[in-house]
């Protein structure tokens, strides 16, 4: 089938995870006349939302208030968040979580039947809803199963989008490969919503699944939309060594301790409070993730970390929680420790270390998920509104998917309803044909030198060395050079598999090109920001600089393949920048 012919929808959602499914449902509900489709490179229930564990924050207890949640989020983000967006987010989060409950999500309950909440890092009040310690799994399956009710939503399962089609400055569709057969098709749409998640696989050690390769970010970037705040990469403090599997923050909110090699709760040395036997909100182990990960690096430098077979680790101690708490509130944590470390947390210490987990940055959108490119929207981890600023609080990203997924779906529906319904124009058909030729060329490339996997591994190491937890002008400059070299080597990389049928090597090659673009954006933005704020720590600029950098970075792709970084000042409405205080 020719790439020039193809299907037409009003709204196309790329990605079938938490944000994507919510956006599709919102669009379908907004306007019964619209045709909505989801294109996902994996079946939706495989999306990475499924591995989220800890919980989703939403204000429901009487002692809590929207203002408190907003303040926690803004201060947690080191004042880089858009405060208006944060206020809208905290107001809608509980409504979205309630809607999910009505859709069947099995939230954990209090004895009287009300939804239970648990404490979480960086939050002054208990407001994290949870479904045992598999919150993301339950949320995703609830969303997916609910989406099955809407017959009007068409799904393209295991189709990989390679390019956004742009006509006269407006996005008007995509080119995608059906993985099963290898055929390349154009799918026209009046509005496209990117919900493809983050890009943790740009780093060598990450909690993220294999599929988190920043595809949507790269697609938007190449289509002329800027990426925002890319330098802010969250390292989750507790990942299992070697695999990088996530041990949820809930383990600490239930009372877990972080110990160095002397059995000492070392966080007290880093202005995070005094150690108490039970968890204290916004203190010690319930501090924000960036500070905890940074403390680990310092402990390693002081020689107080434990030497493990895969590098230095610290210990997460859950033994004092007791068998009852661990088996009822943290069963998945126990399962993971037993399976992947051969350790029973009821009786033994868990070795953990910081691991790349989340991208605060992403495609620049407004409060309704709209990017500066007409017809292009984004939501979830792919997008940067920003509500997370320089550091995300745990349990804010699941409601982020719901709130902004819904907003983007709604906004896209309004846009699509009023957009002209002409078919794809001649220039667009040409773009699609060009893309098909490019893909065929790549698929049938003969010769080539190195395998994709080799380039990918080197890229990951370069990004970790250049833009890890602590960065400097020196390390970043080296990384930029290395990435340039890798892009050249990518252009002559070897493709062994020339088959069309479910060619995963070919998809890996396309994903690698997305990752190279995104990695470049990360290191360039990190190089530009000469201050330390939240998750971006510069050894050469250790202080926060509100005069120059109380602004979000925007990176635009240049016509020649280069990039330019601009700054967009943060709109301060209610909370002027202050000192980030935890434990005091």
């Amino acid at each position: 089938m020719a790439a020039e012919a193809g299907s037409v929808h009003d709204i196309l959602v790329i990605g079938g995870g938490g944000a994507g499914l919510r956006a599709a449902i919102a669009a379908a509900e907004a306007d019964a006349r619209l045709s909505v489709a989801i294109v996902s490179k994996v079946y939706p229930m495989r999306s990475h939302t499924v591995s989220a564990e800890g919980g989703a924050a939403g204000v429901i207890k009487s002692a809590d208030s929207l203002e408190l949640h907003a303040y926690d989020t803004v201060s947690g983000g080191d004042w880089l968040c858009d405060q208006e967006a944060v206020e809208a987010f905290v107001a809608e989060a509980p409504r979205e979580l309630l809607r999910l409950e009505h859709w069947g999500c099995p939230w954990s309950r209090e004895p009287d039947g009300h939804v239970a909440v648990r404490p979480f890092g960086g939050m002054k009040q208990l407001r994290t809803w949870y479904a045992a310690d598999k919150t993301g799994f339950h949320m995703l399956h609830t969303l997916f199963q609910t989406s099955l009710k809407y017959e009007r939503i068409t799904r393209y399962d295991e189709w990989y989008v390679t390019r956004l089609l742009v006509d006269d400055g407006r996005v008007c569709g995509v080119v995608a490969i059906e993985l099963m057969s290898g055929r390349v098709e154009m799918i026209a749409a009046k509005a496209v919503i990117l919900c493809t998640g983050g890009c943790g696989r740009v780093y060598p050690f990450t909690t993220n699944a294999n599929i988190k390769t920043g595809d949507g970010m790269a697609l938007a970037y190449r289509a002329g939309a800027p990426l925002k705040d890319m330098e802010f990469v969250q390292y989750h403090p507790t990942g299992l060594p070697f695999t990088g599997i996530l041990i949820t923050e809930a383990a600490r909110s239930e009372g877990g301790w972080l110990l160095n090699k002397d059995g000492y709760r070392y966080l007290q040395d880093y202005d995070l409070g005094r150690p108490e036997p039970t968890p204290v909100l916004r203190s010690m182990e319930l501090g924000p993730r960036d500070r905890l990960s940074q403390a680990f690096v310092k402990e390693v430098e002081k020689g107080r970390a434990i030497d493990g077979p895969h590098g230095p680790v610290v210990h997460l101690d859950l033994r004092h929680l007791g068998k009852e708490v661990i088996t009822t509130k943290l069963p998945f944590v126990r399962e993971l420790c037993l399976d992947y470390e051969g350790i029973d947390p009821i009786r033994q210490l868990i070795p953990v270390r910081p691991v790349v987990h989340y991208m605060m940055g992403g495609v620049h959108t407004d409060i309704n998920g709209a990017t500066p490119v007409p017809g292009l929207y984004a939501a979830g981890e792919t997008a940067c509104v920003s509500i997370n600023g320089a550091n995300r609080l745990g349990s804010n990203s699941l409601p982020e998917c719901l709130v902004f997924g819904a907003r983007a779906g709604q906004a896209a529906a309004e846009y699509a309803a009023s957009a002209a319904s002409a078919g794809p124009s001649a220039p667009v058909r040409t773009q699609a044909a060009d893309e098909r030729r490019r893909l065929d060329g790549l698929l049938h490339r003969d010769g080539g030198r190195e395998p994709i996997s080799a380039i990918r591994t080197e890229m990951q190491q370069a990004v970790e060395d250049g833009a890890g937890i602590y960065r400097s002008a020196d390390t970043l400059a080296k990384a930029i050079d290395k990435l340039r070299e890798l892009r050249e080597r990518y252009a002559v990389a070897r493709i062994e598999d020339h088959s069309r049928t479910f060619n995963t090597e070919f998809v890996a090659a396309l994903e690698l090109s997305c990752m190279l673009d995104v990695a470049d954006a990360i290191v360039r933005c990190a190089q530009s920001r000469e201050e330390s704020r939240g998750a971006h720590q510069r050894i050469d600029f250790p202080a926060r600089d509100d005069t120059r950098f109380l602004a979000n970075s925007l990176i635009y792709r240049g016509a020649d393949g280069g990039a330019r970084v601009e700054y967009l000042p943060v709109t301060i409405t209610r909370w002027p920048p202050a000192e980030r205080v935890y434990g005091r």
């Binding site: 089938m1 099963m180 057969s181 290898g182 055929r183 069309r500 049928t501």
Partner: protein
């Protein structure tokens, strides 16, 4: 033979399911034997009905029936039937807890208790039958 492959229409491979699918795996074999045991269970019921009929027809019929029963083929059949009956009972009693979720005062009755109750009932009824026949 040539392989004709149409680009963009991959040929899925559908592995054929052999007639002897059940023979290759222990668990499948036990399953099929369990299903077969119902035939022998049915036979034991038929045999019991024949016995009852023989008894009701008088002592001559009854003696004929006993002669028939002591025939070596019939004996072999009935021994095999007994084995299958026990197998049938044991497998189904062990599976019963999976199908029956009983709650007592909010807690699930443990699987061993449900299976145990079945065995206990069986033992009780067998004891009763033995007492009735042997006294």
């Amino acid at each position: 033979m040539s392989v004709r492959y149409t680009e963009f229409h991959p040929r899925w491979y559908r592995p054929p399911m052999s007639v002897f699918w059940w023979a290759g795996r222990r668990s499948y074999l036990i399953f099929v034997l369990r299903e077969l045991s119902s035939i022998f269970t049915a036979w034991s019921v038929v045999f019991l009905l024949l016995l009852v009929h023989a008894v009701s027809e008088g002592s001559r019929q009854y003696r004929q029936f006993l002669n028939l029963s002591s025939n070596p083929w019939m004996l072999t059949l009935n021994v095999i039937t007994l084995a299958f009956l026990v197998f049938h009972a044991v497998t189904w009693f062990n599976l019963a807890p999976q199908a029956m979720v009983v709650r007592l005062r909010g807690n699930r009755v443990p699987r061993s208790a449900i299976a145990g109750a079945h065995y206990a009932g069986w033992a009780l009824l067998s004891a009763l039958a033995a007492w009735l026949i042997l006294r």
